[in-house]
């Protein structure tokens, strides 16, 4: 079943001589339960693409459909994890995770139970009373993942969520995300410029060109799961990486 369909999606910022075409003819289908990754050079419009799916921006042409319906504005069905740290600094870790549930009007005991469960899932059950300012970058992003999952969204949108982390923490969180995804079976649309990250996580990789962003190619990643950071040493991993790098190099020349 198709969860997300982007059909001839285009986006132009501004108008007249100052118009900048950010996206051109984007066609992507994401199946239910699929981990889809969009990879492309910086400035290619991949964040714009994700913002349109989140409902934070609107496409100029074509359409974006979730469960067959046009996307209109942001909603709890499409939870997003940002590259910047977006925990509410005045709320404790647990209250942050409960944020969406509070908006849904769930009773406090129920909220607490769900928040506990997801904090445990990301390994932060000990930190439920901590304030964000006392957390490391990796812990903040783990909390942000728990916060989105606790809301049980239809689809998980991730905009380079590990981009601001150091290399070791990034590896840890990639493994954690694979583990969480295996348990939760969420539909994910993940944006990155890191080719290794894309191959490690994805069922399907959509490779984007430079601005205006187009999908150059969509390639399935058939490496068996469960995967973890050791997967990056497999010969089939290297083969896919070589293909993608050649495509991106050709694009950058």
């Amino acid at each position: 079943m198709i969860k997300l369909r982007l059909d001839k999606l285009g986006k132009v910022f501004g108008s007249g001589p100052n118009a900048v075409e950010a996206l051109q003819d984007i066609a992507i289908d994401v199946r239910e339960g699929e981990f889809a990754v969009v990879v492309g050079p910086s400035g290619c419009g991949k964040s714009t693409l994700l913002n349109i799916v989140a409902g934070l921006e609107e496409g100029t042409t074509g359409q974006a459909l979730i469960n067959g319906r046009r996307i209109q504005g942001p909603g709890a069905d499409r939870g997003m994890v940002f590259q910047s740290y977006t925990l509410f600094p005045w709320l404790t870790v647990r209250k942050n995770v409960e944020f969406g549930l509070r908006i849904k009007g769930l009773p406090s005991a129920e909220r607490k139970r769900i928040a506990r469960r997801y904090l445990k899932l990301v390994g932060l059950e000990e930190f439920d009373h901590a304030l964000p300012k006392s957390l490391s970058g990796g812990m903040k992003q783990r909390t942000a993942i728990a916060r989105v999952l606790a809301n049980s969204p239809d689809m998980l949108l991730m905009d380079e969520p590990f981009g601001a982390l150091d290399a070791q923490t990034r590896l840890q969180l990639q493994d954690l995300l694979l583990d969480v995804w295996r348990k939760e079976r969420a539909t994910v649309l993940f944006i990155t410029h890191d080719i290794d990250e894309a191959i490690l996580l994805a069922d399907t990789i959509h490779i984007m060109s430079r601005r205006p962003g187009r999908i150059i190619k969509s390639i399935p990643v058939a490496i068996p799961r469960p995967r973890d950071h050791r997967t990056t040493l497999f010969p089939e991993f290297t083969a896919i990486k070589k293909d993608i790098m050649e495509m991106l190099w050709a694009e950058l020349r």
Binding site: L56, A76, G100, I103, A144
Partner: protein, 261 residues
Amino acid sequence: MVVPACIRRWAPGTGLTLFSFLALFLLWCLLAYSGTVKELFLPRPHKVLLSFGEMHREGILWQYTWDSTYRVMVGWAMAVVMAVPLGMLIATSRRGAALFQPLMEFARYLPVVALVPLTLLYFGIGDLQKFMVIFLGTFFQLVLMVADTTANVPRDLSRAAATLGANQAQIYRLVLIPGALPGIMDDLRITIGWAWTYLVVAELVAANSGLGYMILRAQRFLAIERIFAGLIIIGLLGLATDWLFKWLTRVSVPWSEKVGT
């Protein structure tokens, strides 16, 4: 000897603070008692101290201090009550910004001192006129400061809230207001300092009580020790207000990075 934790924590900073005040005081003593500066221009410290006693006996020390504090509080509170919502509106609504922002920017460049004659004409010489001078001096600036503070709440926080299901009203209540609060506390602390400045301006022109009035009258009688006494009172009240705000900030926004872990 066991030193309580709070004192140990405060000690290094407090020592330097006391030193800075003591140094200023000693310099004053040196210049005044040695006769380097004539008494007409710089009163001797003990005379200032005596003038406090004198004013107390005359019954004006506490009366005038209270009158001035009251005027500052009311005038400033009027500005705060109107400026905070308006500033947040300007920061969050394009139409609100178009409607009010240029107007505020225009008004904030009008020198309050030049508006004092108008306030006398419109509001007489009572407390209302003092409130209005303080209001005019702080309101327009505060609106723009609050707008700036609110605009500085990271946009991704509001966006994250939206993707968690929050509507506009909830984003306002659950994200923008708490997010802007530490900055707004700073804005309030800064503008209440200005309120004291404008109070003295208002009282210098037309008043029959208050610290500004006392300073003006002391000048006429060349009672320089009273001018100093008035300045010291205003300075101490300002210092106390600042401490109060810092304490309030610690209590109301303990999560802020500014407060420390």
